[in-house]
């Protein structure tokens, strides 16, 4: 599903690459934790998959498509197959829960009938049934993140990228978010989640890829957050 082949990314005006010679594969339906200290290249990894950045060297394939050969005008179509969740939720403050989720479908031109059918389903899936009319500032952090997950998943992407989704949420609520992500993973969606949250990584027992100074220092199936000896 995601294939990195000797990928190096050096940002302009920086001597040290943000990612260096990264080669890895993420299969369809996998759940992958991306761990490592700040500045180790986790976000760059995610941005490369979205083609918000282009690699300096190496090749990236996402869903069988070579990103280097993907024309600019095709990038939106790539992004429709990838859902995104962020630490800061990125909800629209002037739209309610339903409108925030529906927005993702409206802007890609989905028919109204389709939107009216799938949006309530996804809101139920993330556990926000009955809260369609709430505005983001009336929701807790955990609930806001559930809305963000619903928005990322509403178009049934093949891949869900999560950049520290529990970073702004207390541990108890984080477990709820992880359950939602796990549920989404069980539908066959590949999930890649960058995180600092050791407790979550340890409890989930999924594949762990550790980055340090832009290099993969560990790639372990059913791994834990800290170094395993």
């Amino acid at each position: 599903m995601i294939h990195f082949d000797n990928v190096t990314k050096t940002y302009p005006n920086q001597s040290r690459p943000a990612l260096e010679n990264v080669s890895l594969d993420v299969e369809k339906g996998e759940f992958v934790f991306l761990v490592g200290p700040s500045g180790s290249g986790k976000s760059t990894f995610l941005r490369l998959i979205l083609r918000e950045e282009r690699p300096t060297e190496g090749r990236i394939l996402v869903a069988g498509k070579d990103l280097a050969r993907l024309g600019n005008w095709k990038v939106p179509h790539l992004r429709r197959r990838i859902g995104c969740v962020f630490q800061d939720f990125r909800l629209l403050p002037n739209k309610n829960v339903y409108a925030n989720v529906a927005f993702a479908l409206q802007v890609i031109g989905k028919p109204r009938r389709f939107i009216r059918k799938v949006v309530p389903e996804v809101i139920d899936l993330v556990g926000l049934e009955g809260k369609h009319d709430r505005m983001p500032d009336e929701l807790s952090g955990g609930e806001q993140q559930r809305v963000a997950v619903a928005r990322a998943f509403v178009n049934r992407p093949m891949i869900l990228l999560a950049d520290e989704p529990t970073g702004n949420i207390d541990p108890a609520t984080s477990i709820g978010i992880m359950k939602v992500l796990d549920r989404i993973n069980r539908t066959g969606t590949t999930v890649v989640m960058a995180t600092h949250d050791a407790a979550i990584v340890d409890s989930m027992r999924k594949r762990v890829i550790e980055l340090e100074f832009g290099k993969v220092v560990r790639d372990q199936s059913r791994g834990v957050y800290g170094q395993a000896y």
């Binding site: 990838i82 403050p93 890609i108 109204r112």
Partner: protein, 303 residues
Amino acid sequence: MRAQFVLQEVWTGLRRNLTMTIALIVVVAISLALLGTGLLFVKQVDNTRTYWQGKVELSVYLCTATSVSPQCHQNGPATSSERASILADLRKLPQVKYVYYESQQQAYQHFKQDFSRDPSFTRLVTKAEIPDSFQVKLKNTQAGFGVVAGTVQGRPGVDQVVNDASILSKFYSLLGGARDAVMIIAVILTIAAVLLVANTIRLSAFNRRRETSIMRLVGASNFYVQLPFLVEGVIAGLVGWLIAAGLLVAVKSLGLDTLQRYFPYDIQLSVADLVEVIVLAMVLGVLLCGITSFLTLRRYLRT
């Protein structure tokens, strides 16, 4: 394409940016109105020129019993032999295309026609006071004037030689000057309008950067991301144009048509002329706003 959704986004954008939108509409309206006014002036000048093209260019006025100029006083009214010799001499000149004699009766008729709007004036003037004249059409508009005038000027029976073009040139320069001034202001304002459109759209894009970043993230096409802004710009352009169209109708009916009354002839612009200018203003307004929005967005919303 979900029209309802796009229009909703456009409405939000315009409302959030209200002061800037109003400023934009006003500037677009004024610059289009001025540009249109300039064009109307151009048309007015053209029409006036065409009107006078077929007319006589030189009038040789003859002395009558009531003429007040010293040479008429000295020589008395023109006699029929003087008329005949003047006519013969004029016809001999190579610069002259043709000459005809306008009697006092004919001149009086023309006078009454030209000043038909001002009956109190025509009532004061009697037929005897209107001089008869030779109306001379020249072959080469201005070049022959000196020669022809020199031939007859000061001869017994001739009161004065008048170049019609010299009367008109005052009117031309008045209209031409007004047109140039209007055009210069219009161009400056159009530049201001372009900058204002760019600024308004940029501000609008900044206000909605959350929306646009999410749109890009979930895979909205560039067209879909840009469309609301583009429509915003074009709507502002259209509203500005509507106001400008109203102003142009006023300029024609209250300005140019009224101005005509101060001149002894009646050359009004047709409704078709006005419509043409208004349509041109619309095309210009929409293109101006649309293209500026598009170029601004390309720089601002680049992926």
